[in-house]
């Protein structure tokens, strides 16, 4: 159920990255919302119903794993986990709790946008 301007929620505690993703995703034509920690992000997933979530793992307070696990209790929204955690077991964990994609930082912006486009097209 792709719309003309799908809404993407960015959850990341790094303001520089948040700003970058918001600006560039909007430039690509998406509607972008940001959350700077897990608690806020989970609440926005529940209340705003974004078409896709970009979720950082390493955050103070509720981390990305927990946000993902909890979100899966009420939504099947695609969740792309963004993290510097490159270890295989982290990736396995992320998948096992319902993450849709797993992208490690630093990422190449073109490839991230490709993944976002593909996932939204599948919706």
């Amino acid at each position: 159920m792709a719309t003309e301007h799908p809404t993407i929620l960015v959850i990341d505690d790094d303001p520089a990255l948040r700003k970058l993703l918001q600006r560039d995703l909007e430039m690509e034509g998406y509607r972008v919302m940001t959350a700077r920690n897990g608690e806020m992000g989970l609440e926005m997933i529940r209340s705003l119903g974004p078409e896709l979530v970009l979720l950082d793992i390493m955050m103070p307070g509720m981390d990305g794993f927990e946000v993902c696990e909890r979100a899966r209790q009420f939504t099947n929204v695609p969740i792309i986990m963004l993290t510097v955690k490159g270890q295989p077991d982290d990736m396995v964990r992320g998948m096992s709790i319902g993450a849709t994609e797993y992208v490690t930082k630093p990422f190449h912006l073109d490839r991230l946008f490709d993944r976002i486009g593909t996932l939204l097209a599948q919706q």
Binding site: A16, M58, P106
Partner: protein
């Protein structure tokens, strides 16, 4: 009448008798008052009887009879006679009346008033009383005398009885040895009556051997004529065996005397014989028991020695000969002191044995060859049959072997105890040095070693003395032990024992100086490999020749403990390494995260520029470039931090000290932080002036910055961060207080540990390497100061540091 005639005759006789008797009754004499008074004084009783009635009794008579004198008077004399005497008294009276002679002195039993009787000797005489003839009786109480006479008679009867019933047989025999007389007692002794005896031939009476010896004796004793003047009473005795009528044999002792006729020719013998069978048997038994005792003494394995009252040796049995080395002949009669190591002890033993319950105890004896040996002696007094002390008898046994065994057992017990002790002590610690110290102490003690040492082989094969114990020698380490013995033990794995250093070629001179005469070394083996050597040394030769197994026991116990200690150290090292490895992994993980965060920005903005270069206006492009620039700076800081920590770890802190004004440094740091616009309120509460500290300004700046950064990082925007600075005479104290969530109590110490992060990645854009406070701690302590934190979870943290002051200088705020 016959009666009249008899009386007349009696009177005639009486006259004639009275004439003969003279003294008392020559004439009648009148008792006058004077006489009566006299009679009252005498102690014999006097009673005058006239016409059968008592006319007078004196006081003694009255007392004797138990009456008052007046009670007697007027009574018939017969009333006072005891029944058994009445007849004789009457008879005498009548006889005298008839004129028949009667004895003037007689005895009669008289009755007392109380009914008891007494025997009186009565002396009767005729007197004139009141002008008429009267009888006067003088009485004397002879009861006691009679009693004594009776007793004597009774004993005579007894004597007669004894004579008749005695075991002795009186006999006479003729020259033909036939019995010519034998007393009746033969029947009791030999069963034959005298009549039977007289009919027997001597061969029937005696056993053949006794017949022969008796015959020979008679021949010898009777064969010779007695020469005049020779003593007639020559007694001879012999023993002979007679047949009892029942067939048994009785041994008789004969005491005989020859019978001679008027021509001094022997006609036979008479004699007395006694049955001595029982005595002989007792004698035989006694002899047998004496022989038995002697054989016991001789064959006893224990030494039996007796001495007389002068302590001269009487008995000295075979065991004593064997033990002491003296022959019995050599010592009998000698003083017992020669058998004692210390004669005084011999005297004490004798004294103790002579009194009370005797002596039992250990004594030191001396052999003929002078050797001293211990023995266990039981000595007690020796008495003759009368109970008189004759000396002392001792039974003793050499206990050298027992003592030796006892000593060995005691030693073994001590050794086992020491081994147990060393094992216990050594297994209580994993500290190698403590184990080795315990080893030399216990092993040295158990083996009586003067100098005990342990040499250990290190991983490079080098030897070192790791523990030493000195007992009774100056504690001078024998560092220069030649490697010969130790190397030999290590190479062969076999113990080395040197019994005498004087005959050993290559003894360490230091040991010789110490006075070491013998020593032993055993390997401490671990899994077949010798890891060390345990040495014991003694100032006596041959001290360890039979102690190597014990020494090896200590060594093997030590090996176990040493191996345990090694394993423990290894395990500890492994644990430390594992922890370090874990921390490094964690660091790498943290570092990788922290490095990649700014890198993500750099790469993100760079790729954004590339993707949207034509679509973004210039200001967006500049913003991207600025982001890249800032992220690059963060990355640089991070790398710098890591490098610094790494340098601190590797080479220690390099401090360039100069006077530093803390107040201006704090002002600058707070101003810089405010400039970053974190949203916190900064408050400085400093003393107006504080002295300058001697410090490295760059390092101190780094610490202050770090504390401020942390305060910002871990407390929400809008809260207050207070920096304070005070000084006393010794040090300056700087504190940074925030109003953040604080630190859990259990983490207060850990926050200064390297790589520790209470909440990894806690702050937005924070450094978060876990290195900041660790670096701070090293810097502060490098300046001789302290750093600590006070915090309550949820109520903020207060980090404080001190720096020691330069004494004199101060600077104005």
């Amino acid at each position: 009448m016959a009666r009249t005639r008899r009386r007349r005759e009696a009177a005639a006789h009486e006259k004639a008798r009275l004439k003969d008797m003279g003294a008392f009754e020559t004439e009648l004499w009148e008792l006058d008052a004077k006489c009566t008074a006299l009679l009252e004084q005498i102690r014999d009783g006097v009673v005058i009887v006239q016409d059968s009635l008592c006319k007078y009794a004196n006081a003694a008579a009255a007392e004797m009879m138990g009456y008052g004198a007046e009670e007697i008077i007027g009574k018939s004399f017969l009333e006072f006679a005891a029944p058994e005497s009445k007849e004789s008294i009457l008879d005498r009276y009548w006889k005298r009346m008839e004129g028949e002679p009667v004895p003037t002195l007689y005895e009669a039993s008289l009755l007392r008033k109380d009914g008891t009787s007494f025997v009186a000797e009565v002396s009767a005489s005729i007197v004139a009383y009141e002008g008429r003839r009267a009888d006067m009786a003088v009485l004397r109480d002879i009861t006691e005398r009679k009693k004594a006479e009776e007793t004597l008679k009774a004993s005579e009867a007894k004597y007669r009885f004894l004579t008749e019933s005695m075991t002795g047989i009186v006999f006479t025999v003729g020259l033909d040895m036939r019995t010519t007389y034998v007393s009746p007692s033969i029947e009791r002794v030999l069963g034959f009556t005298p009549e039977e005896r007289l009919k027997q031939r001597p061969q029937e009476q005696l056993t053949p051997a006794s017949y022969k010896s008796v015959a020979e004796m008679l021949q010898r004793e009777l064969g010779k004529e007695r020469t005049p003047g020779e003593l007639a009473d020559k007694l001879f005795t012999l023993e002979a065996e007679y047949y009892h009528k029942d067939g048994s044999i009785r041994v008789m002792e004969l005491t005989c005397r020859a019978i001679y006729d008027e021509h001094e020719k022997p006609t036979g013998i008479y004699g007395l014989c006694h049955d001595i069978t029982e005595r002989k048997r007792a004698e035989a038994e006694l002899r047998a028991s004496q022989e038995y005792a002697q054989s016991l003494i001789d064959s006893s394995l224990d030494m039996i020695i007796s001495v007389d009252q002068d302590r001269r040796i009487v008995e000295f049995n075979l065991a004593a000969e064997a033990t002491f080395g003296y022959s019995k002949a050599e010592v009998v009669g000698k003083h017992v002191d020669i058998l004692y190591a210390d004669p005084l002890e011999g005297q004490q033993v004798h004294k103790a044995a002579s009194i009370a319950n005797g002596f039992v105890g250990e004594v030191a004896n001396k052999r003929k060859n002078g050797e001293i040996f211990p023995s266990l002696l039981s000595a007690s007094i020796l008495s003759d049959s009368e109970g008189r002390p004759m000396g002392v008898m001792g039974v003793s046994r050499e206990i050298t072997e027992i003592k030796q065994r006892e000593k060995t057992i005691n030693q073994q017990n001590r050794e086992v105890a020491a081994l147990h002790q060393v094992l216990t002590a050594m297994t209580q610690t994993f500290n190698l040095q403590e184990i080795l110290d315990e080893l030399v102490h216990e092993a040295g003690g158990a083996l009586g070693s003067s100098y005990t040492s342990v040499m250990m082989v290190d991983e490079h094969g080098n030897l070192s003395i790791d523990a030493e114990d000195f007992q009774g020698v100056p504690p001078l380490s024998v560092r220069a032990r030649p490697l010969g013995d130790t190397r030999r033990i290590i190479d062969t794995g076999e113990p080395v024992v040197v019994d005498n250093t004087e005959s050993a070629a290559d003894t360490n001179p230091a040991l010789l100086d110490m006075g070491v005469k013998s020593y032993a070394g055993v390997p401490i083996k671990n899994g077949g490999q010798t890891v060390g050597v345990l040495f014991v040394h003694s100032l006596e030769p041959n001290a360890f020749d039979d102690r190597v197994s014990l020494l090896s026991g200590f060594a093997s116990q030590a090996a176990i403990a040493i191996e345990n200690a090694r394993l423990y150290e290894e395990a500890k090292t492994v644990a430390v390494l594992q922890e370090a490895d874990r921390l490094k992994t964690e660091l790498l993980s943290n570092v990788s995260h922290e490095l990649r965060t700014p890198l993500a920005s750099i790469k993100g903005y760079a790729s954004s520029l590339l993707r949207f270069f034509d679509r973004y206006p210039d200001e967006e492009k500049i913003d991207s470039l600025q982001e890249i620039d800032q992220a690059s700076n963060r990355l640089n800081d991070l790398v710098e931090n890591l490098l610094q920590m790494s340098r601190l770890e590797m080479a220690g802190l390099h401090i360039d000290k100069e006077p530093v004004s803390m107040l201006s440094m704090i002002d600058q740091a707070v101003a810089d932080m405010e400039h970053k616009a974190t949203g916190h309120r900064f408050v400085t509460r400093c003393a107006r002036t504080v002295p300058a500290v001697d410090a490295d300004p760059n390092r101190v700046q780094q610490v202050i910055d770090n504390l401020l950064t942390n305060a910002v990082k871990y407390s929400p925007a809008g809260t207050e961060i207070t920096v304070s600075c005070q000084a006393d005479e010794e040090e300056i104290v700087v504190s940074v207080r925030d109003q953040g969530r604080g630190i859990a109590k259990e983490n207060l110490e850990k926050v200064f540990d390297r790589f520790f992060q209470e909440r990894p990645g806690a702050a937005e854009g924070g450094v978060g390497t876990g290195l900041g406070l660790a670096i701070c701690k090293r810097i502060v302590e490098g300046h001789g100061g302290r750093i600590w934190v006070e915090s309550e979870h949820g109520k903020g943290s207060n980090f404080s540091l001190t720096l020691p002051l330069r004494a004199t200088e101060s600077d104005g705020g």
